[in-house]
Amino acid sequence: MQKYGMYLGCNIPFKAPDIEQSFRKVFPALGVELEDLQGASCCPAWGTAPSFDMDTWCAISSRNIVLAEEKELDLMTGCNSCFGVLSEAKHFIEDNPERKKRVNEKLQAIERRFEGSAGVYHVSHVLHEKVGTDRIRQGLTYSLEGLKAAIQPGCHVLWPSDVYQVKEKNPFFPTILKELTQALGAEVPHYSRLEYCCGMGGMRTTDVEKSLGLFTDKILSIKEEIDPDFIVTTCSSCFLQFDMSQPILKERGVIDFTIPVFYYTQVLALALGFDPSHVAAISQTPRDAVIAEIQSEKRKIQK
């Protein structure tokens, strides 16, 4: 059985623990063991240490990577921002022997040492590269055939492609999440703003109206061009933006619809037959109807 050090970040364990629960159900069911990285911290988020001091950023990030290293495991994160921050920190350390020395001096004070042996992967990479779409297809209890999904891969698994362990052939036309979603049976049409930013992150804390403006373009593009049954993302930040912002825009009369949103492993968990009250229980944008549709009797795959 393959095994990964599960790096949770902040959003998932504290704001969307049903996503965490979906990891804990889905991966063992597909032959991947997860081991908790006890005591892991924030990646640290872009607005904290990376905005103040590179060595401090690299020290905090490398401590998280070291937790995987100490168990001789690769690290897997469910949050795109964490994936970006940890991957870039690793790149900045390995790119510069002087920095590596300084970071290890900092780590010495907490009795740790960074070697760089643990790889940094994202949930979507492990599912696509290590598990594979065939294995996903074989494990399904329900088929999503006839349902239409809009995908939102999120920025930080795409760019800068030169520092990532797994990358898209063309990051401006990403296909990993598309193939993962098609493996569930769903139809995944292209829409023009596929790789556009959703406006979460630093932009939302700095200027919420600018952030919502960007999000409005994106959600209208999705609705008008493909009118999907649901949206699926592999970024916890994008998930929160899509989930929190649609009710706000609806309330303001900017949109007259809402589209259910899932983190990919949540739809996967539903298709594998897991209990929605564990794996897809928390959302502001209603999604009960599509959950019931996914797990309806008529979608059961005869084995």
């Binding site: 623990p17 240490a49 401090t56 020290a59 921002s81 970006g84 992150g201 932009m203 952030s211 928390i282």
Partner: protein, 171 residues
Amino acid sequence: MSEYIKLESDKISEGVKTIMDLGGHGLLRCVQCGACSAVCPGVKAGFPVLCRMLIKKILDGQLEEIIEDSSSWGCQACNRCTEVCPQGVRPQEVVFAFRRYQANDLAFSTSAITSQMNLHAYGHAVFTDARELRAKVGLPPEAPTSAYNEKAQKEIQTLLDNSPMGELGIF
């Protein structure tokens, strides 16, 4: 033109050096083509001093003039700019170097303070007491992270206290 910019070479070299030292190494390679700005969500959303424009202002020696501008804090760190830059400038690194220049002068919004304090106290920039929510979805109420691990919190505090961030007095 409503306003002339007086270029002073000492001021320019000093500004460029400051940003390069803070991590914006590729700055001088910029040819002002604007490819970065064309793909930048921050520019699209209306932040005026990002990507090409930020680099231009630094190259014009206007570092002090823009220290209060909030554009850099609207940067998503998405790195679209890095991917498309034909010159290998890595504009996102310049934006973050500029942020560090601002942050070390405490030129950022007070809303950013909460996440620094959370990071110091719990090891998490985003933290809420989610014990009930976690139990509801069948998880152990306390996540296996630094949030409920005193030793881990001490380690994070040691790293932060012994850093330039510690010297700013925000913890």
